[in-house]
Symmetry: D2
């Protein structure tokens, strides 16, 4: 992830079953995603919601990688499970609710893997960069910043995607920055136009929620793309990337 | 302004002098802007700030139109001056602070000119559409919606540009929607990337502040583009517009 | 309104009929309110909502004053109607949507009556004070600041009442400041505790919406108090006022 | 902490030295505080700020309790240190940045001590109650909710104290709720009026930062009270508490 290319990370919000994951992983690879995302540990507002398959989910992700070759991006929510998650994942994701969980930031830094650091839903740009500094200060410089929308008064979308954040992060740091239009909008129909916009504004990549059957997803169905819409996003993002002088990174699709 | 094209409205925040305005108007035309913006009545937070040249400013705008052929977009702040402003302007702008000044909305609707309706800085999408309804209900259907950033906790930029608003307005109405990255960011360096992003997301146009000497502007200097940066914006917006299947509308530049 | 006392302004959101207004006006006087509020011109998000009885409403307010002796506080929404409203009202209210309608602020200043200046729903303290400055600069020093809640991400209440604003306005200016817990909460059950809190924090008064039959109010029914709850508010506010060394100003009720 | 009384928790933001802590602890007891607060693990935006004395700080807190009899409230930031902190503390505090750190919430619940749960700076009332549910669901029903201000556009204070939250929490749950005007305002001069307001609105207590020499505090000096101002707060809070029919709980001060 970085200068000159656009990298797409895609997959289901949560790993739900072997079938759901494998189907999605293959579809993502066939459509050119560079990495597979999927949650085994899910931060849920209510303790009574589905909270993920935990280690079973991690194993499924590793199997999906074995079959598709796609590196795995998955969230780590707890210091106690950093080692466990790091055993399976290629990139460790810190979620928005842990964006200022400083002990977790330090622990995850030490795992020696790249970190995808989501912006806190009410973190200022400065606070977000200082959260990254907790990781950098532990000697891990592989931090990918992820703008995922901030909390504002507007309720027509789940969050307000902060497009200004992209050039601001570029100006204030040397870290790559990707965008998460799935959470930044919360609505399937908004994901494509906002994906195009974030790439045009300079985002180095996108992280997208995709599900074989969004209506029956165990979490975030309303914002998950179908495979068909994902194909359209990939095609149009490639055009916009070219227009701003970037190459779309693609998994060895045509192989 | 509308489907299939990208229209650029450009000019100084405030009309300051004949020289400043003519210089800018010629430069905007030469670089392909479709309309000239410039404030004769300026809404200022403090009563002690420069508040515009008023009718003298309107006359200068009309002269600039006579020379360049560019239609004029300028703000009307008061019911009492609607007729005066409408005498000179081609498009009447309602500013963010008057976005729910319902008597002004109705009065301006009756002037029979197209209205550029800026979103209130804390208006929800629904409130903004209902503000437009005040104009439509008076029989004026020429309303151009203008996303200019909303007020949030983030202070690294002047406002938070709401990219989600572009596809939301498209989904919920048939009105054209343009973006104002000058106010949406408040920072010169952010204007170009955010302009590209908003066009990629579907904006039908841009309204941009440009000044021959931003350091000495009487208002909004920090967010005003130089002529050179404006040229760059035009060139790159055209590329992004093409990438999303749109034509960049250009004044008959090369004529 | 000012130092050492707590003044209560009460009445219906909108003047709806002679019966509704007179019934309320008498009840407010009997329960100790110092002034009567009531809207004849109503700012409504949608043009299709009830927008007030206009001059007919102003006449009813004047009749209510004639009978009860309570001074009238009512909103003026438009430069064109400042003279009309000033003919009937004792205090001219500027609503939250016009908090930065600078021409209206200047016009209303010239009417020579005290102004109740509501804070804009996204106005900073500084912007609100500078809005007052538009009135003061025209030679009218009778400005009453009114905190009515600001717009935030929280949706459990209609607005977020900004209690910090009370001591901040006291520190930064010499203007009296009252609180509007009806709009600050939007929920009947919250009005009493928040009223007590704002007075304890130093508010010089309260402005409260009361309706003889809130369930059938034409606007803001959900936040309007019944007469009984209003009695309870008056009783408990008086106790809190005493605890912070203030006198509760009462209309010469039982006299 | 609970119905009918007002409990005051006071002490320094961070435990800095034996002298600073003992001096403050004695002063708090002499002035009637019911519990002593003080941070041994400090969540700081930057990794390069003072982050607390850690276990050494916990020991000092235990010594202060031994001398003054005041129970200790201190923050736990990490699952790995829950047992350590629980060994010394009487009440375990979850800070605003960990308000949705769900693994920490569950771990701390199991320590069997009362939990002071600060509201996330952008948590809705509903999200905050569901965070409490993570603790309750683990069988720990001793949760004290703590309103500490939310993040809004307003920058005149550090946060916007949400007074509406007090009656809302009372209406929606049976949990006690206290207010933290130190963080809710960030400014020493605002702490007293806002303390009075929050108690009048129904808060069951206050948590206040006090420092023997705020100008030289290692953290949060600008919002820390001097001992003299704290005395004034205690005196006036007692009056307001009485006015709303509550008893001020006091440590057996003069004994």
């Amino acid at each position: 992830v970085g200068e000159g290319t656009v990298t797409v990370i895609a997959g289901p919000c949560a790993v739900e079953s072997p079938e759901q994951l494998m189907l999605t992983a293959r579809a993502m690879r066939a459509r050119g995603a560079s990495m597979l995302r999927g949650g085994a540990f899910k931060p849920r507002t209510s303790p009574y919601s589905f909270r993920g398959l935990e280690e079973e989910g991690l194993k499924l992700l590793a199997e999906a990688r074995a079959e598709t070759g796609l590196p795995i991006v998955t969230e780590v929510m707890s210091e106690a499970t950093v080692q466990l998650v790091a055993k399976y994942a290629d990139v460790l994701q810190i979620g928005t609710r842990n964006a200022q969980n400083f002990f977790l930031l330090e622990e995850v830094a030490l795992a020696g893997k790249p970190i995808l650091l989501k912006r806190g839903m009410s973190s200022s740009i400065q606070e977000w960069l200082l959260a990254a500094e907790y990781i950098l200060a532990k000697g891990n410089s592989n931090v990918i910043m992820c703008e995922r929308g901030i909390r504002t008064f507007e309720t027509a979308a789940r969050n307000t995607m902060d497009i200004n954040a992209i050039p601001l992060i570029k100006e204030l740091s040397h870290l790559p920055v990707v965008a998460d239009p799935s959470h930044g909008t919360g609505k399937r129909k908004l994901v494509e136009p906002v994906s195009l916009g974030m790439v045009a504004a300079g985002a180095d990549g996108l992280i997208l929620e995709v599900h074989p059957d969004p209506e029956h997803a165990l979490s975030d169905g309303a914002q998950s793309l179908t495979f068909d819409i994902f194909s359209s996003v990939m095609e149009n993002v490639a055009k916009v990337a070219a227009a701003v002088g970037k190459k779309m990174e693609r998994s060895a699709v045509t192989a």
